[in-house]
Subunit: 208 residues, 2 copies
């Protein structure tokens, strides 16, 4: 690799790293290519060599967040059976939101760049979502094989929303304002997973 | 009411209104008593007559948001039966998050002031949460009377998290990045409510 090429790659990496730091410390509204250049001490045209716009930089950040997230989910502890394994994926989801709040926010709290204009970002978010869908399909394939097609994506959305709600509320500390007793607080996460398993085990062909 | 008293009350109201506008337009991190005073064209000591600190002002804003939210939930269309009525409360929740995004964010996305130090705020958030708990208790009282105590608060937390996740994801537009087909998108909210009813109708005494 020529020195010039290496430096080019270095600048791209440095831009992304600096951009992450700006969003982490000051919030997304402070992100601009100009601010990245200023912090790096390079000319304010320099980042444009790698990112035609702020949206392209942000899309690359979000893409990396999804990639990291998906790899975290895939490295979960394997379960003893399909349902157990799906539960472990859920636990990995919650763990990730607490361990990597910046990436978590980039994926789910950010006004994302237009996905159509950033196919690599879109690919990485679909990949992460499909990990969940696949885990659900494997569980249903055993107990409700005739319902796999009809419900797996809907169940995936439901589980995702429930876990996202849990993680967001935990992060906001709003739970302190409704003064739950200690036992309820301590069992809260288990109660959520218990109810998700009720949904997974519900026979959608039964009228409720 | 003396003119002086009226003016005092007017200033308090003007502070809250101005603070709401600052948070709405620029974000919570731009809120300060000094900025409120500057925008109102009053001395920067003036807001302190009503709010000993920024946290007190924020607590009052959050309290009002919860009060407004609770009154919106209570004014929902009554259901034909308890379960239907609970569903209407859920629909009112989602509607509120879309119609009143600022208040919604103040309640659930804000790092709240310490609830212990702001009992009025805490009372209003508990009141809103208890509307949901009561709705759930009424449903369980009919079908699972022996489970009312054990599960109503846990079900309330679960339903809250699921709806909060739904509302947050809808607001963030991240759903566009996983490219759902149109039929799934169109049926998404219904699918969430369907699964919440599965949970409500699940017999917690059954092993799943």
């Amino acid at each position: 690799m020529s020195l010039q090429r290496k430096n080019k790659k270095d600048l791209k990496e440095a831009c992304v790293k600096q951009a992450m730091s700006i969003v982490d410390k000051k919030g997304l509204e402070h992100l601009s290519l100009r601010e990245v250049a200023r912090k790096l001490g390079v000319s304010h045209q320099a980042p444009y060599r790698h990112f035609p716009s702020r949206e392209h930089l942000l899309a690359e950040m979000v893409r990396r967040a999804y990639e990291d997230f998906a790899s975290f989910l895939r490295n979960r502890e394997p379960g003893e059976n399909e349902e157990d394994d799906l539960r472990n994926m859920g636990i990995a989801y919650v763990t990730y939101s607490m361990k990597h709040p910046l990436y978590y926010r980039l994926m789910f709290n950010t006004s994302l760049p237009n996905p159509e204009a950033h196919p690599e970002m879109m690919k990485s978010s679909q990949f992460a979502f499909n990990l969940l869908v696949q885990g659900i399909r494997q569980v249903h394939a055993i107990r409700f094989p005739d319902q796999v097609e009809e419900r797996s994506v809907k169940d995936a959305l439901f589980i995702w929303f429930s876990l996202h709600g849990l993680c967001s509320i935990l992060e906001s500390e709003v739970i302190g304002a409704i003064s739950l007793d200690k036992a309820t607080q301590a069992s809260m996460v288990d109660a959520i997973f218990e109810r998700l398993s009720w949904v997974m085990n519900h026979d959608a062909n039964l009228q409720v």
